[in-house]
Symmetry: D2
Subunit: 430 residues, 4 copies
């Protein structure tokens, strides 16, 4: 067992070798049933197949044994099923090319994966919505380039995260993956002579068809899916970095939860690290790296080549599971996030008025013009205490009283429409 | 001038330094006008600004001169405009942070880029539709793993390409880029005190707003756009590779046009290469490589950092222009594609019946079971001439007459539903 | 178990969770021994630790149990060892930070991985050398742009592959990975007060040290390693594509071995696909995609952050195992490669003299100038049979006799220095 | 002119269309000279060519004019030169395939690029060496996971950066790019009949040869070069991020220089941003993205296809120029870096003893065992003032006097071997 198995979710089972095998059996069984329904195979045969083409009778070990001989994984499955069905074994896999089974199984796996990832993402969205609502008036310093800019709120922070999550959800939502195919060796349905078989099976399995295929469904479908997961991962990384930065010792505005018995460092007893957020960032790198092979897989030659196959054995499972995993991690982080209110306030006032220099500039603009005001305040901002410097500056004090300056440079007076923006955003998605 | 400038289209101008400068002037002008409309600046000031904030009065060279001093490109622009507006210079850029201008300019550029790329893509789609219709009955050998499989048609080839193009078009279409913003330094509208300014300008410029921003619009927007271009490029590369493979000397089914004076090789007089398709493949690599920096740009710190800025100066222009360029190239290639009909036919019959072994297997399945039939025909396919081998095989000839075998192994009789699939596809997009 | 576990080699064990655990025990044991040697812990303590800090006494399950409580994998190990050592448990992990253990364990794993990959690569090189030697006179058509160019030899093909393999070997060789570290929490050795502990352990384990570290060894080391594997994979993919192209039905010059019971397609009995080469191409995509996360891991913040950790759990094992796997696959493919000599010859003569047009151009150059000759032969090459066309052309036949033309356009006479180049290359690496 | 041209260095000229044209002329001229030396062309012809095959006589505009007709850039050059050489025009390009010229020109360009990049890198290394030496005793807090860990020094920070730069330099150094080739259409030298021509030209131009080529030199060479630049960029980004983090308002330990007239924000007068470091980070993303297309270019089909050509027109110039540019930027940043000594000290003492908890743990280990000490101090570190908490703790004060505790928890006493490590490192590279 490799280390990657540390990052397990309910999806791990969906992408296990055993589960894939069971889905292959299911699809072969449905194929037989569809062939029976259109009169291609007799009732007795179908009855036996419906009974025997199950994990109870067909065993993965037997398939793997046969594969050593025939060097073809799906053909081994067909032979293993045939064995169990006796004289009716010849009705297995009728009309089908291997990828009729494989692509349909992938469709089933990815459908489950997408649903579970959407579920987890919906939870993230729900939590972030609540955090935005809850903290829409929690003022804090805004930072651009890492440098104090003007005030904003934690509601704005969560609101922006929420907006990105909603965009990602739309992208994932639109990336359809629940497809199957029974169009034969090059997509012409020549071996079936009809689209009926496909229609019956896909309806039964809750899958759709692409309007046209080669031996396989276009890999554009899958690339879109992988991209949408990479986008989710990148957005989670974006906010995980925000948490990590806000948890820095000098900033210390929020903290990941830290259970009592937890150890931050094996050598530094005092350490409390944002380790879940860091883990999210690390795994996001892996998830994001899957876009390139997913796009490479699109360019299959002619009516398809096999190069997508080995790549996809890694691609689909890893990207789905890891994305699911970091969503669950993020939900955990967010639900237990600690807000260090005194420090948030301290940071907000740290620059003693300079963080509201823009406000003063705007107020001065009417009197001395915007560019002059900018020039003047740029000079004043070199002073240690901007607020005091403003009060004693000839030009400024010629225009505003000390009380007015206090008001202008008070961060709580310069939050703009932050509250309303968050409320509008939350309203818009109800 | 760097070599990349070889790949020019009408978009090159849109992304030129000069055009960007002109758009910046336009946006600053509209900002003043909006500020005037909400009563923030007097009529006289606005009148002057509407006149002077234009390329006629403000010169790029002057901006670049100022930039050497103030090390801030947008502030240099503001100062250069101010100079021209005399006493009203102070009303320039009122309420705005640099990225209110920059992101709005990007929105304008990307809107044009997306429109022109969609236009070119629509032409590709139109051409491919016609090719699919025209060649829906042109039978050819289907190849999987590079090896002859069963017959298909050129209609199917173009149909599958068409399907991928339609998927890519949907992705591009849904990737919205026509956004602008006037929400100030951290997205709170504090400097404006209102969303009116934004509303007025964006409506005038035909742009939309995001529900919430930091100092910048979320880079998720732009990543989606870049991904959609990379997807287009990958799909074009997919088909360009198809053409290159089909033009191989031994296959020789289609050929890129080759004008009379054209030279294929400076040393081999006989060479006629699929050089446009090869160029498409090469540039697709460059385009695809832009996804990673586009995703990296999402993770801006806090209320934004500057790291997206330099990256985007390369990203947006290069990806847009090169994608546009290869679409135009592909349109040119497709419009002039030569079909070598005799060779297409020769290849179709090359494997002397073995290319229809599946057909015979299916016909035999009813009598001897699918798996037995597979086993039998696998053996027969080792013979040089499958058709003859089938005719003399005891089991086969016990079931089918020579004429029946001829019919079963005739490629033209094994095209399945290829014609109907293409017709349905074309019908569905009318 | 995920599908990736299909691709197993001897390296899979090296990167298993169990093996990593055993190496961690080993390193903790050596740490205690070194601490004993410099007098930091008493003999009795060390004796117990040397006995108990082994897989026999410390169990992975117990570590995992503790981890659920303390949320720190290495600290759980330390506690599990301590438990076993009774009163001497307090001497475990003395002076060490977790990554003193982890990075040293990684060094041990990567050292083994690199050695085994080099072994497999050396075998590839040996096989390719033999193929180059063996086929240095096997003439075949050279193809540029997929189009017949001038003749070359299979010796040249294998020689060029060999050259790339040698370059890759040099890159891998120079990418040093056998490093360990015992420099403490931020690399200052403050907790040890000496570099002696590090020196003793690394010497014992056969590892080297970096001249300076933070909490971790610079990830430049690991990025170089991952890049060198990606380079190997890309080069294998390069030649695997060559095989796939040469095995195309229409070209059919070489074939992957195909055992008797093997099945190429579950529906097309005649299919014999280059499936191993295709698998190599698919996995190369996955391997190559690992460069980006490996480079991302370099930028750890300050004296390190944790984001590399989760990424590396996937990175190191997957990239190493898959590269090893495709090397073994390639060795298998090459050892059993079938050369279809008649078809190689047929293809060589396919263009009836046009493939030697360059030769004729050069011969004509002395008489009519290079550019005129190029122009003339470009026209002639439009004829079906270039050889005959040349013989009846006024200019050509005015200069050369039919026999001379035959000789000039005979491919076997236009192999240049191909034999010598291959011999020189093989000689140079003896 | 596109926005990318903002990022100019002396290398921009090397990769200009004009310069490439001049180098092509140079190489064609040397080819003629070599052909003359081995007796292939008469003296009169060579004399004329040596005179006329120069930018003085042959004009880029003329080449571009011809290219519109013949659709082949190198052939157009040959024709344009031929025109100038009158009756001797036929001796131009004798024996050569286009890529004999192109690859040799690339070799010349890349040789210059590599040399200039190495020069800039050497300057970075020199500056960082000096900074490491200068600040080897400047203590500061070490941070892991963004959280205060134990003390370190700025010497260690620069020392670790230096180590990465030295590793990158080794990688760049070993990536050889100064190659040329004159081996003809498929690498067999058939058109030359000798390796002499190649030998003469390459010696003259200061280039080397690969032991074997196809129509082109293996793209492994170029991928290694691009990777080494990406590695440099990633390492610069690593340290640029360090500067950005250290310049955060709350941390404020170092600052990029900020000239008096400079403007940090068009709307926030007080802003002083680490904008050069941010620019380095942004461009590093672009540079790093070039690895994938560089690796894609390795897999050219058979004796080469053209897909590398268009990609390389972007790849080589952009990656070289941007890497050069950010090296120069980094040198500028480092030379003018401001150290805020009071804040460095303030941060060092911020955690009131907890930053030296490890030191106390180690001292306690002898008495109460390492794991117990860890457990005890983990509890103590929850106190606001660790130093005071330690002094009143029963166990601790039972072992150490208040003065001893002061000493143990004094950061200046817990710098380990930091000074020596830096000195050793600097010594080792003298």
């Amino acid at each position: 067992m490799l280390e990657i198995e540390r990052y397990k979710t309910s999806l791990s089972k969906v992408f296990s070798i055993q589960k894939k095998f069971e889905l292959q059996l299911l699809v072969e069984k449905e194929l037989a049933d569809a062939n029976f329904k259109i009169g291609k195979i007799p009732k007795e045969a179908n009855d036996v197949i419906q009974l025997k083409c199950t994990p109870e009778f067909v065993k993965l070990e037997r398939v793997q044994e046969i594969e050593k001989e025939v060097h073809h994984d799906l053909m081994s499955l067909v032979l293993a099923i045939s064995e169990q069905c006796g004289e009716y074994g010849g009705f297995i896999h009728l009309g089908a090319t291997s990828y009729d089974i494989q692509d349909t199984v992938r469709g089933l796996q990815l459908k489950i994966a997408k649903d579970q990832i959407l579920d987890a993402l919906d939870k993230t969205i729900e939590i972030v919505k609540n955090l935005a609502e809850e903290h829409k008036e929690l003022a804090c310093i805004g930072r651009t380039h890492g440098i104090h800019a003007i005030p904003t709120t934690y509601g704005m922070k969560f609101g922006n995260f929420l907006n990105e999550l909603l965009l990602a959800k739309k992208t994932l939502w639109e990336s359809k993956v629940a497809f199957g195919k029974f169009s034969g060796a090059v997509g012409t349905y020549a071996s079936y002579g009809t689209q009926e078989v496909e229609k019956i099976i896909l309806e039964k399995l809750g899958l759709e068809r692409q309007p046209i295929t080669t031996q396989v469904i276009t890999r554009v479908i899958h690339a879109n899916y992988i991209y949408s997961l990479a986008l989710i991962a990148t957005i989670l990384e974006h906010f995980a970095k925000e948490i990590r930065n806000l948890q820095r010792t000098e900033i210390d505005e929020v903290r990941e939860s830290f259970v009592k018995a937890q150890v931050g460092s094996s050598t530094m007893p005092q350490k409390k690290n944002p380790e879940k957020s860091e883990r999210i960032c690390g795994l996001a790198r892996i998830i994001r790296s899957k876009i390139n092979p997913a796009l490479d897989n699109i360019g299959l030659e002619h009516e398809r080549d096999l190069s997508n196959s080995s790549a996809e054995r890694v691609l689909f499972s890893e990207t789905s599971i890891l994305t699911h995993y970091i969503l669950l991690q993020m939900n955990n982080v967010l639900k237990n996030l600690y807000f260090n209110l005194p420090k948030i306030k301290e940071n907000l006032y740290l620059r003693r008025g300079a963080q509201c220099a823009e406000h003063l500039m705007i107020q001065l603009s009417n009197k001395i013009g915007r560019q002059n005001a900018h020039e003047l305040l740029k000079k004043l901002s070199n002073e240690e205490n901007f607020l005091e410097a403003a009060k004693v500056n000839e030009i400024v004090k010629g225009i505003f009283s000390p009380e007015e300056i206090d008001n202008i440079l008070e961060p709580m007076n310069y939050l703009g429409l932050s509250k309303q923006i968050v409320e509008d955003l939350l309203q818009s998605i109800k």
